[in-house]
Amino acid sequence: MSTAAAKSPAFDQQGTQSDAQRVDAAMRSFVREFGVTAALHMESCVRCGMCAEACHFHVATGEAKYTPVYKLELFRRAYFREASPFAPLVRLLGLVKPPSIGELQQWQELIYGSCTVCGRCTMICPMGIDIAELVKEARHGMFKAGLIPERLALMDRAAQQWGSTATPGEDLPDILREVSEEHGVEIPCDLDSAEMLVTAAPAELGDHTKALAAAAKVLNRAGIRWTMHQGGFDAANIGFNNGDLELQERLTRSIIDTAIKIGANTVLLPECGHAYGAARWEAAKWYGQALPVRIIHMTEFLDEMLAAGRIKVKPIGQSATFHDPCQIVRRGGLEAAARRVVAALGFELIELKDHGIAGYCCGGGGGVVSNVRATPLRHKVFEIKRAQIDATGAERFVTSCGQCRITLEQGAKQARWTKPVESLLELVADNLAD
């Protein structure tokens, strides 16, 4: 039971900037975001309120302030003052007030505490506005203004120091040795050349080491020449969640540069949502050109290995339901791949009422699970997913994202719900056929 009393929706601040400097930093960052797509989306909102009906935070609480597009209110005002076609007119006539420091501070709870950037609102918006992307872009300004939740700021500083929120690079060889001994699987580390650079999620270097071992088992069985490397091993890019663009760039470069250095042609991402978002879709942005390495998610990898017959699994033959991680399925496009793996495992898949692209979010992505302020809200959201899982009556409950598993496990613990949350990767590894 989380003992932290629900704090009043206050806010955290980092750095020593004055209030005016914070507002200016936020506005200068906002101005940089507005390419054609962001501008088009800002211009097209007709305030129809439908996005609220898709957002689990609003659906669970009924509170109007969790309306997704309302979370963009300050970003919208910045856009109309600074980048819109009528910006000079808007500024001249003072039609739109610039955000104040008080508003930015109150806004932290909406932008970080009650948005998992899951993109379900993007799927309902009749104007096709990618609200999730705009929230993520608004976070850049909030980070520049030093107005992000303290817990996330802490992880940000750790990652700037270690390249990972979980462990410093130097400790990687020892951790991998422990895991390989504990799980009896060989995990190569820091090889000079390899076919595939494998990366991990921070939790996999902590309490979810079984997932890491599972990955190793599958990779070895498939006969892949792979390695993990101190140069770039933590794929869950915290900069991507916090809005810290410099950190996001550095973390991405550390992985891509390491892969190029060891001559790898593929970077394998772990079962993690935001890792996929940051690497698969935004890595090339920092290089300004297409990347020489292929970046794939663990789910794609399992799907390809099974399809190519390089690994086989024993059918489990039970009923199961699958939670679609947002960044992997709704915003990643791996809905079909995940279901092929589930089918290969011989599960009789019973879909959740809302699944696939329109599935509900676990409620913890985008840094919300790490943001202790959002805990009470998260537990309310957990009810939606739990009800849908119970409704399927499936025996097993599977997903393919470490963050979702942590969020759902915390929710289950708080709601005293006994069904275990299982990893697709671990199921494949445990059921490898000879």
Binding site: V36, T37, P85, F86, M123, G128, G333, A358
Partner: protein, 219 residues
């Protein structure tokens, strides 16, 4: 007669000019902003960008199954007054003449009394939309003066049009003048408010369509 002459002459011309200028200003002002290209490799088998865009533009015409029951009222009511406005504006003979006058395009008209009935339904639907915007907690929070102004300047032409057709309230030419002036107000406000979604929605949905079809998702 002077009000009608003013309405049909200078008012309409000025409104038309402001409409064209404002709409192109806003559209080009947005479309000429820097294009941040997605350099990542597309999902295998992903359709061409324009096809992805078109897909989303069409799909977003109707909410997905999962969202339908929670958005039934908004969806249905919005379609009622959108289709109502379309039938009224493009179905009524005098409107077709107005369009033919400056564009040369013409097509057969619907019976005027049918269009009148549709106009009444449209008016009721617009008031229902306003009632919802004034009472629903989410909409109350989101709405600002621009929304109410857009609503008013869309409803006024329908109201004055119906009054003119029914010849209620004043001399016919006064009603017709008020109707044309309300359309002029509508055209002048159009580019600066959310009515621009009539043009922007294609690009807005298209951009999301391109972004997600690149990732193999039918957004």
């Amino acid at each position: 007669m002077d009000l009608l002459d003013f309405a049909r002459g200078p008012a309409l011309t000025f409104a038309g000019a402001v409409f064209v200028l404002g709409t192109l200003w806003r559209l080009s002002g947005v479309l000429l902003l820097p294009r941040l290209r997605d350099l990542s490799p597309p999902r295998e088998g992903a359709p061409a960008p324009w096809r992805g865009a078109l897909g989303t533009v069409l799909r977003r015409m109707w909410p997905r199954r999962e969202f339908l029951d929670r958005t039934m009222f908004s969806t249905v009511n919005s379609y009622v007054f959108h289709i109502g406005l379309a039938v009224t504006v493009f179905g009524l003979a005098p409107h077709i003449l107005f369009i033919r006058n400056f564009s040369g395009l013409s097509w057969p008209a619907l019976p005027s009394n049918v269009v009148f009935a549709v106009g009444v339904i449209t008016l009721v639907s617009l008031f229902a939309a306003l009632a919802r915007r004034l009472t629903h907690p989410v909409l109350k929070l989101l709405s600002h003066t621009g929304d109410y102004l857009s609503w008013a300047l869309t409803t006024l032409p329908v109201l004055t049009g119906l009054l003119a057709t029914a010849h209620l309230g004043a001399r016919y030419e006064t009603l017709l003048a008020l109707h044309i002036l309300s359309i002029a107000a509508f055209l002048i406000w159009f580019p600066f408010g959310k009515l621009m979604h009539a043009f922007l929605f294609v690009f807005s949905r298209g951009a999301t369509g391109v972004r997600f079809s690149h990732r193999g998702v039918k957004a």
